[in-house]
């Protein structure tokens, strides 16, 4: 069970109105990794995440998350943790922080059942873990960007995910808070042992904190692996898709050749 890849994409295409957003992506992410996805604007980073979450069905190709299509995983109640790029679409929405975190339990609870003491405990425990328990009764819109970010991470965690997906989590944070966030996610991953996929346009921050890097620009080409360092990674930012391992593992580069 644990040997199944966390994410497996097999020749995945996503085409919007005759224009490809993702072209022929084949990718395997082993379980328990902290993976960063980088690439320029419009490279299809968010689309890739949504394909993995099951929010977007690929035009062609197959998606497997822990060996299953995302929809059937969801139907079985095995949920994925997701932090959307703009998690607070309605800043004035009349809910408190605790209510937002409890929302993560709603699907698990089922229709017509209210959250009970155990759900509240789970939600409060995550708020505690993220050091924002004192904000539990505040309206969500009254919090700072960084605090809101933690609330939405707490909501993702109460779904008890095996895969946590974060879309540009640092975009509204200052430099210090950005590092804190990557560290926090790292600690969470160590504690819960889940796989983390984080999309960012900030190549420096990603390179400092994650274990593997995927460089995406709509396409993926597989090449022989020359050795490559972090500087080289930065210089190839205009590439198609690359999957780089650094550290102890031999480096592998996948790049565009057209």
């Amino acid at each position: 069970m644990t040997d199944l890849p966390a994410v497996q994409l097999d020749h995945v295409w996503v085409i919007y109105q005759q224009r490809p957003a993702l072209e022929d992506i084949t990718l395997t992410i082993p379980p328990g990794r902290y993976v960063g996805i980088i690439g320029p604007n419009g490279a299809g980073k968010s689309t890739l995440l949504k394909v993995i979450l099951g929010l977007i069905r690929p035009t062609r190709g197959e998606v497997r998350v822990f060996g299953e299509p995302p929809e059937s995983l969801r139907k079985k109640g095995q949920l994925l943790g997701y932090l959307p790029q703009k998690p607070l679409a309605h800043p004035q929405f009349p809910v408190t922080v605790l209510e937002v975190v409890l929302m993560g339990r709603y699907g698990r609870l089922g229709l017509g059942r209210r959250p009970g003491p155990r759900d509240r405990e789970a939600a409060l425990a995550q708020l505690e873990r993220l050091k924002i328990a004192h904000l539990a009764d505040r309206p969500i819109g009254a919090l700072s960007g960084g605090e809101q970010q933690r609330v939405f991470i707490a909501r993702a965690l109460v779904t008890e995910p095996r895969l946590l997906v974060l879309d540009e989590p640092t975009i509204s944070l200052d430099a210090c808070a950005q590092d804190d966030l990557f560290e926090l996610v790292h600690d969470l991953k160590e504690d819960y042992g889940f796989t983390v996929l984080v999309v960012s346009h900030d190549i420096g921050a990603v390179a400092r904190h994650v274990e593997d890097v995927i460089c995406l620009n709509r396409r993926l080409y597989v090449h022989e692996p020359p050795p490559i360092g972090r500087l080289a990674l930065e210089s190839t930012f205009g590439c198609s898709v690359e999957y780089l391992f650094h550290g102890e593992i031999p480096h592998r580069v996948v790049r565009r050749d057209d």
Partner: protein, 267 residues
């Protein structure tokens, strides 16, 4: 005024008005939070086609109205989720088409009489025992469903995509809400008529939103606004001999502008 309260038709009008205010007050909060104001307009206008179909077929217009508006609402939803059309375009097209169909049905049925006028502009004073029972049954059913799925509807209003990821059956609940709206629209037609019924589904929630930032108080304020303006509107229309539906909607609009003013002054 005292004599008025002793009259059967007047008691029925007040009872129906209060039940409809409760029903629309609750739904209105979700219409505002989910930004469905325009689809409320679309559903209420498309009800005209359904009501006219009832006249043509000789069936109680309540049933044809419900079936027709629910059908149109689901068609709008379908066209929009399949990505064929933008939602606002879909609503604009479907509601114009259903109104046109309604005019045609009426023409074919050969009845352009006072009943039709009642459906267009509401005639709560003409309401009978049977309609009261229909209103009560529909209101109880719709409110029970909203209460049952309350937490899901709050989540969907907050963030639909996230609700899906967290395992909430979003597609089903979206479609169900449109059916609930159609039901409420059709029974609320007795009070204010097709042309104005969307006011009851939009203004109470919008007013409450101006006055409070919390969900439960929003529901109470919305229901209170709807009930208060309905009662005041009915009495005012009786005293001044004005059309009741229009009076209620004008009072509702007045309440909204006052709440907007208060919101402006506070922020």
């Amino acid at each position: 005024m005292i004599e008025l309260l002793g009259l059967g038709f007047w008691q029925r009008a007040l009872a129906a008005g209060l039940v409809l205010a409760l029903l629309c007050g609750v739904l209105s909060v979700f219409v505002i939070l989910r930004r469905l104001a325009f689809i409320g307009v679309g559903i209420s206008h498309s009800a005209f086609g359904g009501v006219a179909l009832g006249f043509l077929l000789g069936i109680d217009p309540l049933w044809t109205g419900i079936a027709f508006s629910a059908g149109v609402a689901l068609a709008i939803e379908w066209a929009q989720t399949r990505g064929h059309l933008e939602e606002d375009a879909a609503i604009g097209i479907f509601f114009a088409a259903s109104m046109a169909a309604g005019v045609l049905f009426l023409h074919l049925s050969g009845t352009y009489n006072v009943d039709v006028f009642g459906f267009l502009f509401g005639n709560i004073l003409a309401i009978g025992e049977r309609q009261i029972l229909q209103i009560l049954a529909v209101a109880a059913g719709v409110l029970a469903v909203v209460a049952l799925f309350f937490k899901e509807y709050v989540f969907i209003s907050f963030d639909e995509e996230m609700a899906w990821v967290c395992g909430v059956p979003v597609t089903f609940l979206r479609a169900l809400f449109l059916v609930l709206l159609s039901l409420a629209v059709i029974v609320a037609i007795y009070l204010v008529g097709i042309i104005l019924v969307s006011a009851l589904l939009v203004i109470p929630g919008a007013t409450a939103r101006n006055l409070t930032g919390h969900l439960r108080p929003m529901l109470w304020v919305s229901v209170g606004t709807a009930a208060g303006t309905t009662l005041a509107g009915l009495f005012a229309s009786a005293l001044l001999d004005w059309p009741s539906g229009a009076t209620v909607v004008l009072l509702l609009s007045g309440a909204f502008f006052l709440s907007a003013l208060r919101h402006r002054l506070r922020t």
